[in-house]
Each structure stands twice: as C-alpha cells, then as structure tokens.
C-alpha cells in the first residue's frame, strides 16, 4: 500500500467518522460504469463526501476537478490532489486558444468518471444556483456516459463558511436516476432539467 493509498483510506475514515458519509442509491446502483456525477455545492467537504460515499472499488476511477492555480500551489496540495484523488486540473484563467473543458474531455476519453459541481462555486443559500454550461457540452460530446444527479445533504452544518474545524453531524449523498441529453434539446432547458433533478433528491423532512 502506497502512502497515497493510506492517506486516501485515512481521509475516507475521517469523513465517515465525522459525517457518516452515507450514500443512498435511489435512482441507480453503484456500478463500475463510466459516469459524470453532478451535485449541489455548499462546502469544501462536498468532494470528499461523495468520494467517501462511493464504494471503494469505484473511488480510484472517479476523479474530481481541481483549480490548477490553487491546488498546485504547495507541494502538499499538489500531492494530495494528484496522488490521492487523481484530480483533473483546470485553469481558471480563460485563454483564447484553449477550451477550458479540454482536461475533462481527456479524462472522459480515457474512460474515467468525473464528479462536477455545475454551479461553479460554493453556495450557502440551500437552493442551487443556475447550472453552468459545461455539463451540457460534456453531455453532448459523450452521449454514452451516464449523467447521475446527486444531492449532498447537511454538509453546510458540518463546516460553515469561515470555520476550520468540522463538527460531527451525519450527512447523506443521494444519487438519482441517470439523465441523458434528448435529441435537439436546448442548452438552457437541459441545464434546468439537470438542476431540477438534483433538487428533487433533497430529503423532504429536513
């Protein structure tokens, strides 16, 4: 077992200890299919929570997206994202000659699954903002990849904005039924439909 594997096991254990990291597979079973999981984004812990809720054998091929400038800034951050999580790096600065989705497309071509937060930024209001268009372009380019909506619940209570120590509170990740892009579906319609699919997974009696 390498050091990265140990770190991964440790992080998954801590995530389960603090949050329970319960995965509820409502719409699809946890299978080793190529998938794009898309979820609401409220906290830094969201990725770790989805990752810990996945069965161990799916973790290695399910990759997060990390901002290159922040997550390569220090050796530790770089090691953590590269070796432990196998993150896909994207640059936040847009250059004219490069498609920002290119690293994601490479990862999907290689057969990996991705976790994306289509709101683009963390959001504390409890209701997801409008989705950015990346999900649509990926759905268009990779029709064979399953698009699985997920709702992460309670995580904002674990670590509110500005706090560094997490409080142990049970969280759940609910995975819904896969969506696919319909023939000739408009970009905005699809993104709204995807967002509704995520919101629909929110547990009713909170």
């Amino acid at each position: 077992m390498s050091r990265a594997d140990l770190m991964g096991a440790l992080l998954a254990f801590v995530a389960r200890l603090i949050t329970g990291a319960q995965g509820h597979w409502k719409g699809c079973p946890p299978e080793a299919l190529q998938r794009i999981y898309f979820a609401n984004h409220q906290s830094h812990l969201d990725w770790v929570l989805i990752w810990a809720a996945l069965p161990g054998e799916l973790r290695a091929r399910t990759r997060p997206i990390a901002a290159r400038d922040y997550w390569t800034a220090s050796p530790f951050k770089h090691w953590l994202t590269r070796e432990v999580f196998n993150a896909v790096y994207v640059s936040r600065q847009r250059t004219d000659d490069q498609d920002p989705l290119e690293p994601l497309i490479h990862a999907l071509q290689a057969g990996d699954s991705l976790v994306i937060f289509p709101e683009g930024t963390r959001n504390q209001t409890g209701v997801p903002q409008a989705f950015k268009s990346g999900l649509f372009h990926l759905a268009e380019a990779f029709p064979q990849v399953q698009l699985v909506p997920a709702w992460i619940d309670n995580v904002q209570r674990v670590m509110p904005k500005g706090e560094v120590v997490p409080v142990p509170i049970l969280c759940t990740v609910t995975f819904g039924a896969p969506l696919s892009l319909q023939d000739g579906e408009d970009k905005r319609d699809f993104l709204d439909r995807a967002r509704d699919a995520v919101v629909a997974l929110r547990p009713t009696a909170a």
Partner: protein, 325 residues
Amino acid sequence: MNMLQALRQLSPEQQVGLLFVLVFGGLLMVSVTALLISLQSKPPEWIERHRLFKRDLRAVWVGAVTFWLAWVSGPLGATLLFGAFSFLALREFITLTHTRRSDHRSLILAFFVVLPVQYLLVGNRHFDLFTVFIPVYVFLAIPVISALAGDPERFLERNAKIQWGITVCVYGLSHAPALLLLNFPSAPGRGAFLVFFLVIVAAVAQIVQEAFSRWLRSRPVARAISRSFSVRAWILGALSGAAAGGLLFWITPFKPAQALAMGLLAGGAGTLGEFVMKALKKDAGVAYWGNRAAVTGAVGLLDRVAPLAFAAPVFFHSARWYFKL
C-alpha cells in the same frame, strides 16, 4: 443452593467467563433456531415480523459482543469503547436537532473537549470531578461560548438542546464505564458484573413493560407521546427489573435485598428514559430513529442507548452513596 455456593466460590474472572459463555451460548441457539425457521416458506406478514425480530436480535448480539469486549479489554478498552458510543450517539442527537451556524464553536467544545475530558476523568477514576464536570463546569461554559458567538436568536433554546444532548449522550453513558471501574472493597473485580447487571435489569424491565402495556391495554398516561406507556405497565416493568436484580444478586457485591432495590431503581429509570426518548422522537418528527434514511441513515444507536444512559447515572450514584465508595 449448592450450585449457587459452587458459583460463589469461583474467582470473579471465572464467573464472568461463565456468564459470557452462557450469554453467547443462548444467543447462538436463538440465532440458529431463527435461521432454521426462516429456511421454510412463510406468509409475508410473518416475514415482516421475522425481519423486525432479526433486527432486534442483531442489536442484542452487538450489545453482548460490546460488553464482552469491554470486559476483555479492561478499564482502558471499556473507557474508549463507551467514549466511541458517546461520540456516535451525540453525533446522531445533534444531527436531529436544529442547530444554527453560530452554535459551531459550542459543538466543537462538546465533541472535542467535553467528551474526551469526561472519559479521561472516568478512566483515571477521578469520580468526584467526574460527577460534577458536566453539570457544573460545562453547564456554565456552553452558554458563554455561545454568547461569544454573538447570535441572540433562540439563544436559550439552542443552548438547552446542546446541554441536553451532552448530558444524555456523554454524562449519562459515561457512567457505564464508571460502574466498571468502581471498586467495591468487599468484592474486588466485580465492576464488570455491575454493568452486566444494569444492562440485564434495564432490558428485562423494558421488555416486560412493553409486553404488559400491550396486554393490559390500560389507559396511557400521555397518549400524544406513547399510546402504550401506562403507570401500571411501568410499575410492573420496574418490579420485574427488581425481580431480575434479586435473582442476579450472586454476581454483584450486593445482598439480595440490596440487589432487589438496585434492580427496581435501574429498571424504573431505564424505562422512563425510553419514554422520554419517545417524546423526543415525536418532537423531531421521527417514528423510529434507526429508519431515518432521509437525514442520517444511521444505525439508530440513540434509541438503544437511551435506557442505559438514563439508568446508569442513577444506579452509579445510589451505589456510591449507599456503599460510601
């Protein structure tokens, strides 16, 4: 009577070992029988009943293995084990109550300071500080931290909830390892029996009370909280706890009458604890905590530790007071 005398002549370790052999043997028999019966085809309502029974049986197994581990691993292991239980129970409790962002610091204090310190005090047998640490010092510290967070909204309510959670999940449960570590000069090495005694008595009282409340159908005291809980059933439950305690007197440092009284006390307190938890469940809008897939999906630990968390402090204090330990 001869057998009892033979039993009393064994060393405490041998007696505990025998106890666990009996308990695990009985459990194994029940489990194997249940498995054999479940191999035949049965009507659906029977399968549903069987599923519930299997769930309860699993809980009993977990409980028995836990106590065996607590005994085998000695004071340190028992303290750590119940500390972990406290942590999980408090995590479940806090999940179900509505805390606000400004409670964050108080909750950190509860989980990462109060809980470890309380168990450190138990593990080191600082019983005097142990009994007042939470009721006095933590009681004062939590609202101070909370006030410093600067959020006046529902201040009293929020603090009360956190205090209550700490008192039940940490203070109450930490009395179980305290019993294990309590030293009776007249009978050294008997701590493990006290925890076992407490658990058996509380369980018997609980089961009898439930059975009688179904069978007697007398008027419930508080229909809105529990349709079955009645004074008569409660008294019968506590009395059967006393009877169980009296029968088990030989494993404790108590004389028969004392064991009877302790059983009455623990059985009564445990069933009341379960009743209070029912009220709490209704308040949180949960029918059965273990099934709360929506938010927690947890094991419903809080449910199962409630009788113990209520009975253990009462039991501990009365034992200490009466025997002047």
